[in-house]
């Protein structure tokens, strides 16, 4: 969408509806708050239940108690006795961080490349990749396992990370957001004599930081919660991730829900921290970053 076409759209919109300032503005504002509050309440409730559950005994949780309890220490002790927490969180952390960094680097390069340097062949490849995105993972698990087994990489973090880093999903995302990247910036940089990789690193990357922020959250979360592949490829208990461990705890004959909810709260924290740290990026405009 070019600037000129945008202005004509605006002109058309203006012509179509030359109405004075909406007298219902206040009512509408109130309505927005009510709806957002409602959505916030519905969204927070299960999270609240999870946090409160971590302070209750298993029996109380089953009875549906939803107020703060006094079993937090008991649950924490039980969790840390039963789960080698430092090791398990370290595993999850290393996998998620390394995978996120590599995914962002490789996939954003590709997304940029597909959009900025279009050619018929690459368009075909891109269309093909989109199709591949839809193959259910279960269909590819056995051959992938064969490959990693032959490479003697079974039960390593590399086996968990490597298949995820070239993410079609994230390539697609970067390609779509790159459409909003002003080509004038690139042209200006070229005139200044910057090389293509410099343009990517010093012009594109800072400008697109809200996109990178969103992608970081999404990719980190996906890797942190990744289940089926790590389940199959990580075999010894000391190499497992927190997501796998929690799933195993839930499947016990007599699950200790206090312990499990304490674990799930801990397991949720990293994603939330990353969201808190990055959410400011959603407020800053792209063009502000360039100025």
């Amino acid at each position: 969408m070019t600037v000129s076409s945008m202005t004509t759209t605006v002109d058309r919109a203006v012509a179509q509806s030359r109405v004075p300032a909406n007298p219902w503005g206040l009512v509408r504002r109130a309505l927005v708050y009510v709806l957002l509050s409602l959505a916030a309440f519905v969204s927070i409730f299960p999270f609240y239940w999870m946090v409160v559950g971590a302070t209750n005994t298993s029996a109380d949780i089953i009875k549906g108690k939803s107020s703060l309890g006094s079993a937090l220490i008991t649950n924490a002790t039980a969790f840390f006795t039963q789960v080698d927490a430092v090791r398990i969180f370290w595993n999850s952390g290393v996998i998620a961080v390394v995978a996120t960094v590599l995914t962002l680097a490789i996939s954003s390069l590709a997304g940029y490349g597909f959009e900025m340097f279009r050619s018929r062949v690459r368009e075909r490849i891109f269309g093909f990749l989109l199709l591949l995105l839809s193959i259910p993972f279960a269909a590819m698990m056995v051959p992938l396992f064969v490959m990693f087994s032959q490479a003697k990489l079974v039960n390593t973090f590399a086996a968990v990370i490597l298949p995820t880093v070239a993410s079609i999903f994230i390539i697609f995302y970067f390609r779509q957001t790159t459409k909003a990247f002003p080509t004038e910036l690139r042209d200006a940089a070229r005139i200044d004599g910057l090389k293509e990789w410099q343009i990517f690193l010093y012009v594109y990357l800072p400008v697109m930081r809200s996109t990178y922020a969103a992608a970081t959250i999404i990719v980190f979360m996906a890797n942190w919660n990744n289940y089926l592949w790590p389940l199959v490829v990580l075999q010894t208990a000391e190499n497992k991730t927190i997501t796998l461990i929690l799933s195993g705890l839930t499947a016990a004959y007599t699950p200790d829900y206090g312990l499990i909810l304490f674990g799930t709260v801990l397991a949720t924290l990293p994603t939330l921290v990353i969201f808190f740290l990055l959410q400011r990026r959603f407020v800053e405009g792209m063009l502000g970053a360039v100025k």
Binding site: I62, V98, L102, F145, S247, A251
Partner: protein, 424 residues
């Protein structure tokens, strides 16, 4: 600018070395690894067995992994067997009896025929039969799934019933009792998960039937026991005696928090019930009701699992010797795991031990283990076949309609058709 790029390069190189650092430590020789799915029950039981063996064989150590669920174990095992990669597979894996045949037939050669080394006649025969394929037995039986009707004696008492009223009754009689109990206490008789056909299967097996004929073909439309089971199942709902639940947490939650009066279930639930120490003395166990038909008995089975040895094991000799010494020979061990874990093993000789004769105050001082042993000997032996999961799924599809009063014969026909289609 230069600093930024070098920082990038550093991050990447640190990341890459990170990956290569975390490589595998393969299971060392002399270590027997085991996959189980419940820490407190089969995990600790296996650890205890391992400790016994290590005491006499200090060079053998055990690595019991209880961090995966049963579904997860199936997914892992199946992916690896199909990929033809045995690296990382354990020496011993626990498998539930009703899916054993599926594995034995799908993955020939993957499991070690244990009847070549261990005398199988020392175990409950219906357990051995579940893992026998082409004349060889592939498992050392672990826990029995013999069923009982666990009940809240206090609720029944309020409605004027005693333990004797639950002995040798039919499901129809239980429905009458349940109606009374509900009228007096307001409690539903039992809780059932619509997505779990366990109780239907339990009823059917108590009449000595299963989904299949001897030749493996479907036994559905002409299966009187299945028809009667579905009818009884529907009656429970129609009499408004069921609290419908969804999932394991709600299922166990309903009876451990005193919302329902009875639980017809396998003996392995004992630990879950006894976990609520404040309910001690309020529980009893009766034989399960029988179907109102010829050949039905007051005993059945639900679940139960066995130990399988993978042919790929590096320590096959020690592994089999371990199973033979402890699991097929140590009667005291079985007393121990019964007391500590509530695990009713399948070694016949173990039943004569002290623990099995003891009474339990939690269940009002009744000799519950003795009772379970008696019922165990009455469990009709059935052939679980290879397609139980497929037929279960077909039954589940018809259950809501049956509860609403749908035609039973039409439902059986539909189950047959769907299962037939799935069994390819």
């Amino acid at each position: 600018m230069i600093r930024t790029t070098s920082r990038w390069r550093n991050t990447l190189s640190v990341a890459l070395t990170g990956i290569s650092l975390f490589s595998v430590t393969a299971a060392s020789a002399g270590e027997i690894s085991v996959w189980v799915w419940d820490k407190a029950f089969n995990g600790d039981t296996m650890r205890e067995a391992g400790a016994l063996y290590t005491a006499d064989h200090p060079d053998v150590t055990f690595n019991v992994d209880d961090t995966a669920s049963q579904d997860d174990i199936r997914a892992k095992l199946q992916t690896q067997l199909l990929a033809g990669s045995t690296e990382g597979l354990p020496d011993i894996v626990l498998i539930q009896d009703d899916i054993a045949q599926k594995y034995l037939q799908s993955f020939p050669g993957a499991f070690e025929p244990l009847s070549d080394y261990i005398d199988m006649s020392v175990f409950a025969q219906y357990k051995v039969a579940a893992a026998t394929h082409d004349g060889k037995s592939y498992s050392v039986p672990f826990d029995s799934g013999v069923t009982g009707l666990f009940y809240r004696s206090d609720f029944l008492e309020q409605a004027g019933f005693t333990a004797a009223d639950l002995e040798n009754i039919t499901w129809d009689r239980l429905i009458e009792i349940g109606t009374e109990v509900k009228a007096k206490t307001g409690k539903p008789l039992l809780d059932l998960d619509l997505n779990d056909t366990g109780v239907i299967r339990m009823m059917m097996q108590s009449a000595g039937e299963w989904y299949f004929n001897e030749d493996g073909s479907l036994h559905i439309t002409d299966n009187a026991a299945l028809k009667k089971s579905l009818e009884t199942y529907a009656k429970l709902f129609q009499a408004d005696l069921v609290k419908p639940v969804s999932g394991w947490a709600e299922y166990t939650g309903a009876f451990t928090s005193g919302e329902v009066a009875v639980v017809p279930v396998g003996v392995w639930i004992t630990a879950t019930i006894k976990a609520n120490a404040d309910q001690s003395g309020l529980w009893g166990v009766a034989p399960i009701p029988r179907l109102d038909m010829e050949g039905a008995v007051n005993a059945s089975n639900q679940g139960g699992s066995s130990w399988f040895v993978l042919s790929s094991s590096d320590n096959k000799e020690e592994t089999i010797d371990f199973l033979k010494t402890v699991w097929a020979g140590n009667v005291d061990f079985y007393q121990d795991i019964l007391i500590k874990r509530g695990a009713v093993g399948s070694l016949l000789a173990a039943r004569e031990g002290e623990a099995f004769k003891a009474s339990d105050d939690f269940f009002g001082g009744a000799p519950v283990w003795q009772n379970f042993s008696t019922w165990l000997s009455q469990v009709p032996s059935v052939d679980y076949g290879t397609f139980t999961a497929e037929v279960d799924s077909a039954v589940q599809a018809q259950v809501p309609g049956i509860i609403e009063g749908g035609d039973l014969d039409a439902a059986l026909q539909a189950i047959h058709d769907q299962a037939q289609q799935q069994m390819q």
